[in-house]
């Protein structure tokens, strides 16, 4: 019994330390972001300009709910992507990534960066979605369903994009282009399911609503799989 108890205690203290470190990295990234406003500034500007451009071009059109759902996720995806890649690129370009490698467990670095990207995606959604719903109002809104789709879609988007950001940060040049190229096939299944689920939150068709509910299971599974895989593989990406 005693050796097992010892292992459990060690695992418990490691987990506690890992979570504490992840929290510190998240807090540090927030501090740096609030002082530079680099990511928040670029994603806010992108969100506002794309929503205004889309509404200016299409507000007079009678768009179907599937077109509105697709447009919403296109705006969310590209607005978020303009900030998500920065989490690791900034560390590498400023030369602070080696200091993080020395002081923090790899899994904590991924978890801390994931938390920051989650906060960024949440901020993008808070800015974009209400504005989008005002300028291009759907036929109907199921608030609970919409919030659930946005939360699960945002989680999957953050998790996959954080891992891809870590991968491309090691590249010598062309990081932005590489980020979109690598992220595109990884995020495409998520985007397709998120759009289909959002359609169910935007109209009164019962089959769409049931599709949305089953789509949320897929989104949840996508998030669990990408986060677990990223936590297991991140060590190999992070250490050269």
């Amino acid at each position: 019994m005693k050796p097992n108890a010892g292992v459990q205690k060690s695992f418990g203290s490691d987990l506690k330390h890992g979570l504490h470190s992840a929290g510190l990295i998240f807090k540090k990234d927030l501090q740096v972001e609030f002082r530079t406003r680099y990511a928040l500034g670029s994603v806010s500007l992108f969100s506002l300009t794309t929503v205004v451009a889309v509404s200016g071009a299409l507000s007079s059109q009678n768009l179907h709910s599937d077109v509105k759902a697709a447009l919403l996720w296109v705006v969310l995806l590209f607005a978020a992507m303009s900030g998500l890649a920065r989490v690791f690129v900034r560390e590498v370009e400023s030369g602070t990534s080696d200091a993080l490698k020395l002081y923090a467990p790899a899994a904590s670095v991924y978890a801390g960066k994931l938390l920051f990207n989650l906060a960024l995606v949440a901020a993008v959604e808070l800015i974009t979605v209400p504005l989008y719903l005002i300028v291009l109002p759907p036929q109907v809104i199921h608030p609970g369903l919409l919030i659930a789709v946005l939360a699960l879609g945002g989680l999957g988007l953050s998790s996959a994009a954080t891992f891809v950001a870590a991968l491309i940060a090691q590249a010598k040049s062309g990081k932005s282009a590489l980020f979109f190229t690598v992220a595109f096939p990884v995020l495409m299944p998520l985007l397709l399911v998120a759009v289909k689920s959002t359609v169910g939150a935007f109209d009164l068709v019962p089959t769409h609503e049931s599709q949305a509910v089953s789509g949320m299971y897929v989104l949840a599974c996508y998030s669990v799989v990408t986060t677990t895989a990223a936590l297991l593989l991140f060590e190999y990406v992070w250490r050269d």
Binding site: S21, V32, D98, L102, Y103, P105, R239, D240
Partner: protein
Amino acid sequence: MDVLEADDIAMAYGPRVLFRNVSFTLTPGDFLIVTGRNGAGKSSLLKILAGLSRPIAGVVRYPSDAGAITNANPANELPIGYCGPDINIYDELSAAENLTFFSGLRGLANVPVRDLISQFGLDPKRSSEPVSSYSTGMRQRLKHALSLVGSPRVLIWDEPTATLDSNGRKLAEDVISSHTSKGGIFIVATNVDDEAERWGTKKLRIGP
């Protein structure tokens, strides 16, 4: 045993071999000076010792009866402090915030950051200013202070005095002599002939 052991390590970038068959053993109180011309691989060797890089051959063990220091078992698991030109601190954070952040990552609470800042001759009144307002020498002093967080038994400094004034060099020498006199292991890479002559109980020249 509290011994650092490098066993037959080699490093190369592509076809260019920097060094091979580098072996040494350091015991408590030892001070190793690593010298060599520019590009010989001094910094690469020190990064391998800290667990930041992986050698193409050989192993580093610390303590010598433990597993190898590898990229999967870096210094964050070990009592090793490292300071090198390629390690940077966060410009947007203050000196105190940087030290508190990194000590927190090592699981240390209530580290006397102001004492560390004062020990390296930095003005405690400026400890809440962003590091971006610091000069190169002040940043170097802060990085030295950072390497001491958690009182590591092994300290590795790469070109520690390159950007320091005479007062800074004196403070660095004080830290080195204090650390080794307390039984710590110190490893320094330098290009300064005077330091290479005066410092070190052991010397290692990399390359021709």
